[in-house]
């Protein structure tokens, strides 16, 4: 078995705001293998983006990675715990953009507005690859060509505001891929784009992945996208991964009631007029006011009264490799429940 590229365990990213703490990421476990596409799925506000930013240690203040490990197997063969690095130090900076790159949701604002596309890409190349300005320029043209940017030489001189949304996202991807990273984190890269452009960008990411052999951690709330590109899927709810499984298991044999709820709420063809779409009852709870027990229990249709609201489920690995955090799937309920929880 190959070494996993990235191994996250017990990662916590907390925001301390005026004496109280928002637990944006609250004990996430995740593995990304080389060349694999992992999709991180969840509703808005479940901590997906903060989880992605935690990997690169670019969580905006007052947020902080407070616990856990982010083990990255570097190209050199060395294993580094990114969670233990100084977020402004040289080592993490040598990883950012070089071994782990990231693309963002807002192609409109994610590129610097007053520098040309070319200067932003060549800056990154020169920073990491120590090549001459001319060579960096050639590589920039090459990577722009690779992301399907028409007339790349002229586009080098273009400013972001001169490009359309799709072209801007291509430029963003080109920037991220400019140093051939081994892991690409894509934070909802298609959400802000129209549907046809979305499909094109998705294809592009998939092709580039096959071509360059990199792993992709793809963050989305769109299960359609997941079905299209994922190898494995992690479902996040309120800062935790509640279910992690191969893509087929998620769609055909979802274990967690939340995953099943998400799947039921996808609009599909063939729905009858007047038939209501299933939704998950209620709202994502306020992060200040996390429910006790399993944090999903107030919205869960399979909630066990007296248990789910008291016992916080632990991570359970099922025989087929799926991991799930749900009391329904915990084999030794009595043993795992804290004393007195059942009275």
């Amino acid at each position: 078995m190959t070494q996993p590229l990235l191994e996250i365990s017990g990662l916590k990213t907390h925001f301390g705001v005026g004496g109280t703490t928002i637990r944006a990421v609250d004990g996430v476990d995740l593995v990304v293998n080389p060349g694999e596409t992992v999709c991180l799925v969840g509703e808005s506000g479940c901590g997906k983006s903060m989880m992605a930013r935690s990997i690169l240690r670019i969580v905006p203040p007052p947020g902080q990675v407070t616990a856990g490990q982010i083990n990255l197997h570097r190209q050199s063969g060395k294993v580094v715990d990114l969670a233990a690095l100084d977020p402004k130090g040289a080592e993490i900076r040598s990883i950012r953009g070089r071994e782990v790159a990231m693309i963002f949701q807002e192609p409109m604002t994610a590129l610097g507005p007053v520098q040309t596309i070319g200067s932003q890409i060549t800056d990154a190349i020169q920073l990491h690859l120590k090549v001459s300005r001319k060579e960096a320029r050639n590589q920039a043209i090459e990577v722009l060509t690779r992301v399907g940017m028409p007339r790349p030489e002229q586009r080098l001189e273009a400013y972001p505001f001169q490009l359309s949304g799709g072209m801007r996202q291509r430029a963003m991807i080109a920037l991220a891929l400019s140093c051939q990273p081994r892991l690409l984190i894509a934070d909802e890269p298609t959400t802000a784009l129209d549907v046809t452009t979305q499909a094109v960008i998705l294809d592009l990411i998939r092709d580039l992945q096959a071509e360059m052999g990199m792993a992709v951690l793809f963050i989305t709330h769109d299960l359609g996208v997941v079905a299209e590109i994922a190898d494995s899927v992690a479902v996040m709810y309120l800062g935790r991964v509640v279910e992690r499984a191969a893509v087929d298991d998620i769609f055909h044999n979802a274990r967690h009631p939340y995953t099943r709820g998400l799947l039921r709420s996808i609009p599909r063809l063939g729905i009858r007029v007047g038939e209501e779409l299933d939704t998950i009852e209620g709202m994502v709870p306020n992060p200040f006011n996390r429910p006790s027990g399993c944090s999903f229990h107030p919205r869960c249709v399979e909630m066990i009264p007296g248990r789910c609201d008291r016992v916080d489920p632990s991570r359970t690995r099922l025989p087929d490799g799926t991991e799930v955090r749900c009391l329904l799937h915990e084999p030794h309920r009595q043993e795992t429940a804290p004393a007195g929880a059942l009275q």
């Binding site: 017990g10 200040f288 916080d312 632990s314």
Partner: protein, 384 residues
């Protein structure tokens, strides 16, 4: 295979915070603004100072020990006398507010008078003392002053005296009226012009907008003080102080309206294309109803904040013009007029208390700026 990973304690945030969140979900815009302002202690404190300054302006006659014209020639450039509350005699300490009288020396060569507070001679002062008569709030005739010497002929110069032996403190208090009101009235006029022209510009758009914008750009590109000077110098000498006062106010606001107009226009422009305005229009509401019910409430808080910041600029402008002798002129008392006394550096060197009106300017402008800044932050309670 069973893998039992970490069992975390369930995350429960303090209950109080949840309630705050809840409360903020149904509070109205103004309540939110008030709450946000309430968290800004500096702005709140400054607001209190501003309020006090305006109260001083309203009750100037009562608060000032003397009228602005009261003078005692032999006390020219008399230094400040500290106010004490107790006297000591053989029976011990006794409550008796007083200042110490001066002993004066006249230099035989230069004939300059020097004052030394005389620890022996006590000038008894009292609260609610009878002094010169005035009309409180312009209606109630009275002669009660908050603080005054028991014998009106005794000297009491808590902040010293000027070159004619007038009480600097009293004059500064009286100056509050003109200086603070000129800011308020001037900004009021600017606001009327600004809202009308800015509103027209923002709402009609097109050629009207271009024209008004060019006018604003034009006015903003001219250095204001030379222009004010040119206009103020044309005020006929024969006008009464009241006429001059209004003429200066009008001159200041003729130029001061531009930034408020920009603000109004900017808000109009930004809001005109907001979805909720489009929605209101699609609902069939008339333009005036949209302006009244949707646009004005959306930017009123911003306008109030900008007005608060425009007042100090106006105060500074009046002060500067009066200071160089081209705005208000004696016998009108404004802080700028009073500071004319400080123009001669030799007299300031011997009587630094002539800077007191300057301190009044700094305190009022500073507190208005802090308040205005706090209001700007609070005006958008939905941000952050």
């Amino acid at each position: 295979m069973i893998d039992q990973a970490d069992i975390d304690t369930p995350a429960t945030a303090p209950k109080a915070h949840a309630e705050v969140e809840h409360r903020e979900q149904y509070a109205g815009q103004w309540t939110l603004i008030w709450w946000k302002l309430g968290r800004n202690k500096v702005a709140l404190f400054s607001g209190a100072v501003v309020l006090i300054i305006y109260l001083v302006a309203i009750f100037a006659d009562f608060l000032a020990p003397f009228s602005s014209e009261h003078y005692q020639g032999r006390y020219a450039y008399a230094p400040p006398q500290p106010l004490s509350f107790f006297v000591q005699n053989e029976e011990g300490w006794r409550f008796q507010p007083h200042v110490n009288a001066y002993t004066t020396d006249i230099d035989p060569v230069s004939f300059r008078r020097t004052f030394v507070p005389d620890p022996e001679e006590v000038v008894p002062v009292r609260f609610f003392a009878a002094g010169e008569t005035y009309h409180l709030l312009g209606i109630i005739p009275t002669d009660i002053h908050l603080l005054g010497p028991e014998n009106p002929r005794d000297p009491m110069f808590l902040f010293g005296a000027d070159r004619l032996g007038r009480d600097v403190l009293s004059r500064t208090i009286h100056g509050t009226r003109v200086s603070m009101s000129i800011g308020l009235i001037g900004v009021g006029l600017s606001l009327v012009l600004g809202i009308i022209l800015g509103g027209l510009s923002g709402f009609i758009g097109g050629a009207v907008d271009t024209l008004i914008q060019r006018i604003i750009e034009f006015l903003q590109s001219i250095p204001t003080i030379p222009l004010w000077m040119g206009l103020a110098a044309a005020i006929p000498q024969s006008w009464t102080p009241l006429q001059v006062y209004f003429a200066i106010t009008v001159i200041l606001s003729l130029i001061g309206w531009t930034s408020l107009a920009r603000e109004v226009r900017g808000k109009f422009m930004a809001l005109r294309h907001e979805d909720f305005v489009t929605a209101a229009r699609l609902d069939g509401l008339g333009e005036m109803v949209i302006i009244r019910k949707h646009l004005v409430p959306s930017f009123l808080s911003h306008i109030i904040a900008s007005v608060t910041l425009a007042i100090p600029a106006m105060i500074l402008a009046e002060t500067a013009l009066s200071f160089i002798g081209i705005g208000l002129k004696p016998p009108v008392v404004s802080w700028g007029v009073l500071l004319q006394e400080a123009q001669n550096i030799r007299s300031v060197a011997t009587a630094p208390w002539l800077f007191l009106p300057g301190a009044a300017i700094v305190v009022s402008v500073l507190s208005m700026n802090f308040l205005g800044d706090g209001l700007i932050d609070a005006a958008d309670p939905y941000g952050n």
